[in-house]
Structure formats: structure tokens, C-alpha cells
């Protein structure tokens, strides 16, 4: 991990192997895996173990010994005594190992051996609200990015619970303590012949011994996702309304009574203008095909960022960012040139785009909560573009005013996917190129689908929103 030679870890593993051989109590095989590369190596091995490897690049692994129960990665690159143990537990795509494995490691390390346990690189955790929040947010960011965070990450998609124990700091703990810790974890795994059952796979850790369970946190992501669906339903209902009656003119004409409906409910009656109770026929072909084709456009950046070479990646990204600035305007002008959208089609396009976004995010929330929450929050402005909260279907109320359009366009450009990616890179002080390479590496090697979410869910929804508020439409 971190590009350092895992010298003590390897030495300790070999020593443990010799020690384990003397015991007859293991009810299973213990496989020791030492790889040259800390991320591609374990991935290749675990793929080959499950016969899922891509043939010419990874050699097959003919000798196997049943289903893998658990994986503990030893990482000790220090050449001096260490102070505490840092447990890394994030898997690919935000999947997490069984919480019991984590708890076992924590209670052995801190309870039995008296070592400090750190997580998410929070070296000094004083159990304050602020520290807990920071730990949780760091965990969420890691989960959202979903990239490989250590050798253990590759095992988690195969439903093998895995964690990395990393020795950090300078203190009084020696290899002996680390060895005892690992040996105890192995024995605990030994006791659990049956897989950990009915325990947590969905959690956010705030501290080594505190977590937030799914029942508490999932509603937030679901609410964010559902907001788009609710908006879509509202827009759908609104799109079905006929234009408001011209009350002033019809009243004046003698003899022509306005069409009224008598609505009776619970013994009460109300007279309503006919127009508010009837429903217009909706012209759905244009909005549906627009929304669907915008989503298919997302394949272009996805392909581009995964198939171009390492050197050209940052340039392609900058080019894409520049194109993205003008793309909504161009598309809007093109649509306007082909067919001018009616107020109803405008509402329906907005509705379908939000419906799709809400649907994808709700699904994503069950798979990768953090990513869904972040994408949901960043695309929340899409609900509020246009004159969202008016019930009127007059074209002048449906299409936003020119001033509003410009403000919305600027606001949406600020939260566009490429701009957000650039901002995040700037904030963390990383290079855009590295970030993209990391994502492409994850896509090719680990099967990371964060990019699919960004380019095929978030970006199309953003594009649809930007087209809708573009001054060219």
C-alpha cells in the first residue's frame, strides 16, 4: 500500500506460516498470497481462483481449496516499532465486508492486545462529534469513489470478507503483537465455520466501535432520490392540464356559459370550471425519444475516458469540459431548429428526465449509498429549474424567462460533472490525469462502475436540465 515495500509484513507472514503449521486445530486451509503489486496482483489471483480471469492476461489457477472464508491483509512497511493499527475495509464499488469481521479485528487489537485502532486515516480520534463526523464523511467519500483501497478490496466483490491491517506510527508495538493479533483473528474465523449470518453489510463507521446502520442512513439517500420522482409526477400531472380558461372573455359573451363541472364529495358540492377536471391527451413521442437518446449519449464520454492513452487523458478531459460548456446550447438550438417544443412537451421532457434520474439513484442507493447521495445532492438543482412550482401551463409560465434561463444555466454549469471533478481534484490537490487514470484502471481491472454512474446517469440528467434552461431553446 502507498507504494512502499511491505518488508515486515512479508517477513511476518512467512514466520506465521511456519507457526501455523505446528498447530493441528485449523479446520481449513490457509493460503498465503504475496504479490508484487498490491492492487492488480490480488485481483488477478482472486479472478483466477474463481475462474473469472481474462484468459490471455491472467494465467489460470488449477489448484483450489474450496470457498474462501475470509482474508486478512498484513501491511507493515515500517522498519521500526509501530504505534497503532489502521484497519482498511472498503471494497470495490462501495461494497463492505461483514461488520463482524471488522468488530473481531477491533476487539482483538484494542481489547486483548491494547493497541490503538485507527480507521479512515484518522490518526487522532478523540471521540468528539467533529471527529466522528469527519471519519464518517471520509468513509462515505471512499465508498462513493468505490475504488480499490488496498489488496483486500479485490476480494469483497466475490463475497469474501476482507480487511487490511496496516501498521502505522511510531510506538511500542512490535511484530510480535501484530502476529498475535493476526493469529487471534484467524482463530476467530476458525470458530465461525458457518458464514457470518444475519449481520451487517451496510454500515457507516464513525469510530472503531460505533457505526450507523442502514435503517438510519438509507432514508436520506432515498429521500434525495425520491424528490426527483415526486417532481416528475408533479410535472406529469401539470402537463396533463389544459390551458387555463380565459375567464374574462367568456363571461362577457352573452349566452355562452362557461363549461362547469359539479364535483360532489362527502355531501358537499363544488362548481369547478370544466378545464380543471379534464385531462389533455399528452404528446409523448418527442419527449420520450429525447430523454432516451440523451441517456445514450453518455456512452461517448464513457468510452472516451476508458479507451484513450494515459498521456492524452487530461487533454481529452479538458477538451470534453470545453465542449460540455457549449453542448447544451448547441443541442437546444438543434432541437429548436428541428421542432419547437410545446409547453406540454417541455414539461414532459423535464418529467421523464427526472423520473429516470430518480429511478437510477434509488437503485444505486441500495448498492452504493454514498455515491447515490453525492450524485443526488449535486443534481438536486435539476428539480428547481424552470418554473417548477407554478401549476399553470401557459407557455409564458412554463418556459422560464430569459433572465431566469441565464441564471439557471450559470448555476447548472457550476455543478456540471466535469466542473465538479475538476473542483474535487483541485480541493484534494491531485492531478486530474491521475484521477482519471485511477478511474480507468478501476474500470479495466476491478470492474469499478463509478464512471458508468457519472457518464450514463448523472451527466445525461444534467444535460437534459441544461438543455431545458438553455437560452437557445
Amino acid at each position: 500500500m502507498d507504494g512502499e515495500l511491505n518488508q515486515n509484513g512479508v517477513a511476518l507472514t512467512l514466520e506465521l506460516a511456519r507457526y501455523f503449521k505446528r498447530w493441528s486445530l485449523w479446520s481449513k486451509d490457509i493460503i498465503i498470497l504475496i504479490t508484487a503489486d498490491s492492487r492488480a496482483g490480488p485481483q488477478a489471483w482472486v479472478d483466477a481462483y474463481h475462474d473469472e480471469h481474462i484468459s490471455p492476461y491472467v494465467a489460470p489457477l488449477p489448484i483450489k481449496s474450496g470457498a474462501l472464508q475470509g482474508v486478512v491483509v498484513v501491511d507493515n512497511a515500517l522498519d521500526h516499532h509501530f504505534e497503532s493499527i489502521h484497519i482498511v475495509y472498503d471494497g470495490i464499488n462501495g461494497q463492505l465486508p461483514n461488520l463482524d469481521l471488522f468488530n473481531t479485528a477491533v476487539s482483538i487489537a484494542s481489547g486483548q492486545l491494547g493497541m490503538r485502532v485507527a480507521l479512515q486515516r484518522m490518526w487522532k480520534h478523540d471521540d468528539s462529534y467533529r471527529e466522528r463526523l469527519q471519519t464518517m464523511l471520509r468513509g462515505m467519500v471512499r465508498q462513493g469513489l468505490g475504488h480499490s483501497s488496498g489488496p483486500h478490496s479485490s476480494f469483497i466483490p466475490y463475497h469474501v470478507d476482507a480487511i487490511t491491517l496496516q501498521a502505522v506510527g511510531e510506538g511500542g508495538q512490535d511484530d510480535m503483537a501484530m502476529g498475535r493479533c493476526i493469529e487471534s483473528i484467524f482463530r476467530s474465523l476458525n470458530n465461525l465455520l458457518e458464514h457470518f449470518h444475519q449481520s451487517f453489510f451496510f454500515y457507516l463507521l464513525m469510530q472503531a466501535d460505533r457505526f450507523v446502520s442502514i435503517g438510519t442512513y438509507l432514508p436520506s439517500a432515498m429521500l434525495v432520490a425520491v424528490n426527483f420522482t415526486i417532481m416528475a409526477i408533479a410535472l406529469w400531472i401539470r402537463s396533463g392540464r389544459p390551458p387555463a380558461p380565459k375567464v374574462a372573455t367568456t363571461m362577457r359573451e352573452k349566452g355562452s356559459k362557461p363549461d362547469v363541472d359539479i364535483i360532489q364529495k362527502d355531501g358537499m358540492a363544488a362548481i369547478m370550471p370544466k378545464e380543471t377536471t379534464t385531462i389533455l391527451e399528452r404528446q409523448m413521442f418527442v419527449p420520450v425519444s429525447l430523454a432516451v437518446s440523451l441517456h445514450f449519449l453518455g456512452v461517448i464520454p464513457l468510452y472516451m475516458f476508458n479507451h484513450c492513452s494515459f498521456e492524452t487523458l487530461p487533454y481529452y478531459f479538458l477538451l470534453f469540459t470545453a465542449v460540455n460548456l457549449v453542448l447544451p446550447t448547441v443541442l437546444a438550438a438543434f432541437i429548436h431548429h428541428q421542432t419547437s417544443l410545446t409547453a406540454q412537451q417541455y414539461l414532459l421532457l423535464h418529467s421523464f428526465s427526472l423520473l429516470l434520474l430518480g429511478m437510477f439513484l434509488a437503485t444505486l442507493a441500495t448498492l452504493n449509498f454514498s455515491l447515490s447521495l453525492f450524485v443526488g445532492l449535486l443534481s438536486a438543482p435539476l428539480s428547481f429549474i424552470g418554473n417548477s412550482f407554478s401549476g399553470s401551463v401557459e407557455p409564458k409560465d412554463v418556459f422560464p424567462s430569459q433572465r431566469r434561463k441565464i441564471i439557471s444555466t450559470v448555476a447548472l454549469q457550476l455543478v456540471s460533472p466535469p466542473v465538479v471533478i475538476l473542483a474535487v481534484c483541485y480541493f484534494w490537490g491531485t492531478n486530474v490525469g491521475e484521477m482519471l487514470v485511477e478511474a480507468a484502471f478501476g474500470w479495466k481491472v476491478n470492474g469499478l462502475w463509478m464512471q458508468v454512474i457519472i457518464w450514463c446517469v448523472w451527466w445525461p440528467a444534467w444535460l437534459a436540465g441544461s438543455v431545458l434552461v438553455s437560452p437557445a431553446l
Partner: protein, 422 residues
């Protein structure tokens, strides 16, 4: 013969799309074939291949308890040389889809949906033309996924569509023959017999071609249907070297549900959870429930037998023992025929959104359950409940719309007003 240019365009583009999916993404067919939403134990293409292997090696395919499909399919697929098995089957399934659409277009052109013998809808002007209905079927993602996943239920669907299309073109013999094939292949189309006979009768009576009373008429065609089935069974008996083993492992499996592989239906979870002593009773209840709709619908919507068939297809897609996406796609293919009652439906958006949500969440929950191991069977079952809720919403809502349409003809003064139960 005048060739309709739009039709050619439709067939051509649908074929191209399917060929592209089959041959440009070689891993896609296998991926979809393995999906539980597409392949059920009684229609799976993988099981068909297994049965075929045994059959061509002179081992009874019905011995192992894996293969549950009709023997005729075996002899059909055994004709395909194994060297070009995969491309030829792809072409076969594409051809089947086109045949289905051909039948669907014929049904649409007959205008039976707008005006049957006993009822003419005042809204009949509002309809999609037949090519649009065909396009809605061919470009429905469910249909495409089914075609690529190659379940044998496509054969059943095709036979059902032909039975209806022959019925509306006034050819009861071929219609009954087609339905016989459908029910030979997967048993449940048997329940479509009463509305189909009504449809045939109405269609013929309208052209004053029929001289029989309806009771004699139905006896005649029911016996013909039985004869067809007996003939198919006899043929199968010859094909499987004189053994009747196939009966219990094809129809027996449909009736008794020994294979509880998860699917989109409602049966598997119930029967997993159930104590064995109640099993027989609830099998009876479930089948009775499925069959119970036939009589009721035939009587209530007597004026529009085509709609009875459509609604039954929707009900089958929900309540039959091993439903799959192909049943849903068949229902969604037929529903646009009743385009004119769509304005009367009340929950279309809600129901479609539910179905879309379930389409996304279903595979996600299945993944969590089977691959990630972080979910369990309840996740997937919950989502099949949602899916079936969405479908039953559409079935019930379309039924409401058709009844409302009929009612407004009876009582024109109530047009546009709310109905209340008294």
C-alpha cells in the same frame, strides 16, 4: 403484391437491431439467458440445450429432472446442425419475433378492438395504426431482451398471437389448432380456450357465416381442441420412443411446481416458505385462482372477447407458476390495441413508473442477494411484489377503462362524471 414500405422498414430495422445485439456483443445472449427474469425452469434455453444434448445422445432427456419442455421443441432444435447451432438459433428467434409481429399487425388491422360484433366503442377513432403497434412490440426493451435471451416461451407467444389473428380473420380451425400448439407447449394457454371460441364465434356470426348455436359451436371446437392436443401428445410419444415420461416432467412441473428457482412470479416464495402438508391445498388454491378469472371475465366482458384474452394474458403474466419477461412483453404487445381506452385509465404514469422502478431494482436486489451476499431472498421477493403490483395496476386499470367505455354507451348522460359504488 403491394409491399408496404413502412412495414418493410419496421421489419428491417428490428432485424438489424437484433442481429447487431446477437453478433456484435457475443457475451450478451449468454448473459441474458442466465437471467431469472427471462429464463424460467420451464422455458430456459440452457435447459433446452441440456435436454437436446441428452436427446441426441439417445438418453431420455426427462430422466434427470432438469428438462421440462415439450418434446416437439427437441426434435425441432435437433434438426439444426450443431456446427452452426448458435447463429441459426439466433436467426430462428428473430424470425419468430417477426412472425409474432405479423400476427399482431393482422389483429390490429382487423379492428376487432374498436368494434366487435356486440359493441362498438365511441372512441374507436383514436387508435394507433398497425405498424405503430408492431413497432411498439418490436422495440419494447422487454421483447428485445426476451429475443436475445432465447427462452422457448417465444414459441408459445407466437402460437397464441397466431391463434388470435386467425380467430379475427374468421378461420376458427387454424385458430384452434394454433391454440392447441400453444397449450401443448406450455399448458396455461388452455385457459384461453373459452374467450377464443367466443371470439371466433363473434367474428363468424358478424359475417353471417355461422349457422350453429353458440353451445353446439363451442362443443364442436372444444372437441377439436382436445383432438389437436391428443394428436400433439401422440406425436410426442412417438418422438420420445414410445414413453409417456414427458407428461409428468413437462405438465407435471407446471402443475405441481417442484422447481422453486426464483422468478418474477409470486409462487416460488410462497412454496418455499410453506409447510409441506399445506402444499397440495395451496397448489389447488393457486391454480383455482388463476382459472377463476376465465369464467368471470368471459361473462362480464362478453361483448369484447378480444379484451378478455388480453386481460387474461396480463393475469397470466402475474399469477402463472413460472412467469417471465416474455409474458409481460406479450401483454404489452396486445395492450396498445385498446389505445382508445387509454384516456380513461387513471394510473398509467404511476403504474409505468412502478414497473420501471421494479425493472431497475429487480436486478440490483438479485445482485445483492446472490452475488454480493449482503441481501437475502426477501429483497428480491419484495421487488417482484412491486413489479406485480405495477402489472396488476395496469390490468385492473385497463379493465376499468373498458368497462367505463361500455358503460358510457349505455348511459351517455354520465359521460365524464365520476363513478360511485352504491
Amino acid at each position: 403484391m403491394a409491399i408496404d414500405r413502412r412495414k418493410v422498414l419496421l421489419f428491417g430495422s428490428a432485424t438489424t437491431l437484433r442481429l447487431l445485439l446477437f453478433f456484435a456483443f457475443p457475451s450478451l445472449p449468454d448473459l441474458l439467458t442466465g437471467r431469472v427474469e427471462i429464463s424460467t425452469p420451464v422455458t430456459s434455453f440452457k435447459r433446452l440445450q441440456e435436454g437436446l444434448f441428452l436427446y441426441t445422445h439417445n438418453v431420455s432427456p426427462y430422466d434427470g429432472g432438469v428438462f421440462h419442455q415439450a418434446p416437439l421443441l427437441l426434435s425441432l432444435f435437433a434438426l439444426i446442425p450443431s456446427s452452426i447451432f448458435s447463429p441459426l438459433t439466433s436467426l430462428l428467434y428473430i424470425a419468430l419475433d417477426l412472425l409474432c409481429v405479423n400476427a399482431l399487425i393482422q389483429i390490429a388491422e382487423s379492428d376487432e378492438a374498436g368494434s366487435s360484433r356486440l359493441f362498438t366503442s365511441p372512441r374507436r377513432e383514436l387508435k394507433w395504426d398497425s405498424v405503430a403497434i408492431g413497432a411498439a412490440y418490436l422495440f419494447n426493451p422487454f421483447t428485445i431482451a426476451t429475443c436475445i435471451g432465447r427462452p422457448t416461451s417465444v414459441f408459445t407467444n407466437c402460437a397464441i398471437l397466431y391463434a388470435i389473428s386467425k380467430a379475427v380473420s374468421g378461420k376458427p380451425m387454424s385458430s384452434i389448432l394454433a391454440l392447441g400448439l400453444a397449450s401443448y407447449l406450455s399448458l396455461y394457454p388452455l385457459l384461453l380456450l373459452p374467450p377464443l371460441i367466443l371470439l371466433c364465434y363473434d367474428r363468424q356470426a358478424r359475417n353471417k357465416k355461422v349457422t350453429l348455436y353458440i353451445s353446439t359451436y363451442s362443443v364442436k371446437y372444444t372437441s377439436m381442441f382436445l383432438g389437436t392436443n391428443v394428436w400433439f401428445l401422440y406425436l410426442s410419444n412417438i418422438l420420445t420412443a414410445g414413453s409417456w415420461e414427458f407428461l409428468s416432467s413437462t405438465y407435471g412441473v407446471q402443475l405441481l411446481l417442484p422447481d422453486l428457482t426464483p422468478n418474477m412470479g409470486l409462487w416460488w416464495y410462497f412454496f418455499i416458505e410453506m409447510f409441506d402438508s399445506f402444499r397440495e391445498f395451496f397448489l389447488g388454491v393457486f391454480w383455482l385462482h388463476l382459472g377463476g378469472y376465465v369464467g368471470g371475465l368471459c361473462i362480464r366482458v362478453r361483448k369484447q372477447p378480444l379484451f378478455v384474452i388480453i386481460t387474461l394474458l396480463g393475469i397470466f403474466a402475474i399469477f402463472k407458476p413460472y412467469p417471465s419477461l416474455s409474458d409481460t412483453s406479450l401483454y404489452f404487445a396486445m395492450l396498445p390495441l385498446y389505445r382508445h381506452v387509454f384516456p380513461l385509465m387513471r394510473y398509467t404514469f404511476f403504474a409505468m413508473a412502478t414497473i420501471l422502478y421494479a425493472t431497475m431494482l429487480g436486478p440490483a436486489f438479485y445482485y445483492l442477494w446472490i452475488y454480493a451476499g449482503s441481501g437475502n431472498a426477501n429483497f428480491y421477493y419484495a421487488i417482484t411484489l412491486v413489479w406485480n403490483l405495477g402489472l396488476s395496476e395496469i390490468v385492473a386499470d385497463s379493465l376499468f377503462a373498458v368497462l367505463r367505455d361500455e358503460w358510457e354507451v349505455e348511459r351517455p348522460e354520465m359521460k365524464g362524471k365520476d363513478v360511485r359504488q352504491i
